[in-house]
């Protein structure tokens, strides 16, 4: 059986790939895919602590539900952003979104 550091190593690799990809890309959809990858890594870390190490308890379950909820909300938000940016003819390049204005 494997032990916790290997699982945390997997999470570190996924988070590092996602952060580097988010920093290197300017496409909105790709950035959101990177954030989804971070959610996956955090879920793996949390479930690893359920199986190995100190159990997070019921509070950990709520954290897991929160991660899933935020991931689902992010998907909804990115679709709305996609439609909005297409309607304004902005495209997917986030570097053009220089002003936080409606």
């Amino acid at each position: 059986m494997i032990i916790l550091p290997y699982l945390l190593g997997l999470c570190i690799a996924l988070i590092a790939i996602a952060l580097a990809g988010i920093a290197a890309h300017r496409n909105l959809i790709v950035i959101m895919l990177g954030i989804e990858l971070i959610f996956v890594a955090s879920t793996i870390a949390l479930v690893s602590f359920f199986s190995y190490g100190t159990s997070p308890g019921p509070g950990g379950i709520m954290m897991l539900f929160s991660i899933w909820t935020v991931a689902a909300a992010e998907i909804i938000t990115v679709i709305a952003l996609y439609v909005f940016m297409r309607s304004r003819g902005i495209g997917f390049d986030v570097s053009k979104l220089s002003r936080l204005k409606w």
């Binding site: 199986s51 019921p58 689902a72 998907i75 996609y82």
Partner: protein
């Protein structure tokens, strides 16, 4: 204790898929690669003996991914020219930083197996206001997105 071959294979699939999300040239390929990353994470959960979590993970993310796929297929925009010069050093730096953080923390406990399903029952009874808030968050996100899309539909129709 060294990890066994199955875990190494699952990790390679997940990490390879994660890399392919950013290194593939087409947006659709990125989405398909993310699907493999989700499948890899579900396999990790099955390997850890948490099959219920694996099932939930697939339910949540397959639903989301189908939406992403529609967007990726619908969009005709190609990805921008990707610069490996920016990506590779950044990846190395982040891996180094996070690994150092893990090594410094020195947290290597023994195995304490806990049942996800058994704890879910007590979590639902104890934290039901939090569940209500999460539902409210999701509902408000849906309403907000509908309002944004309504503006777009007014422009089109």
């Amino acid at each position: 204790m060294a990890p066994d071959l199955f875990f190494i294979a699952i990790s390679m699939i997940t990490i390879g898929a994660g890399l392919a999300v950013f290194l593939s040239r087409r947006l659709l390929h990125s989405v398909i690669a993310l699907t493999f990353a989700f499948i890899g994470s579900a396999l990790v959960f099955i390997y850890l003996g948490q099959t219920f979590v694996a099932l939930l993970q697939l339910f949540v993310f397959v639903g989301g991914l189908s939406t992403y796929l529609i967007v990726a297929v619908a969009s005709e925009a190609a990805k921008e020219n990707f610069s490996y010069v920016r990506f590779v050093p950044m990846l190395a730096m982040i891996i180094l930083g996070l690994s150092t953080l893990l090594a410094v923390s020195g947290y290597y406990p023994g195995r304490v197996a806990s049942s996800f399903v058994a704890m879910s029952a007590s979590a639902i009874s104890r934290y039901y206001p939090v569940l209500f808030m999460l539902g409210l968050l999701l509902f408000s996100t849906v309403i907000g997105s509908i309002l944004v899309m309504k503006r777009f539909l007014k422009l089109v129709v």
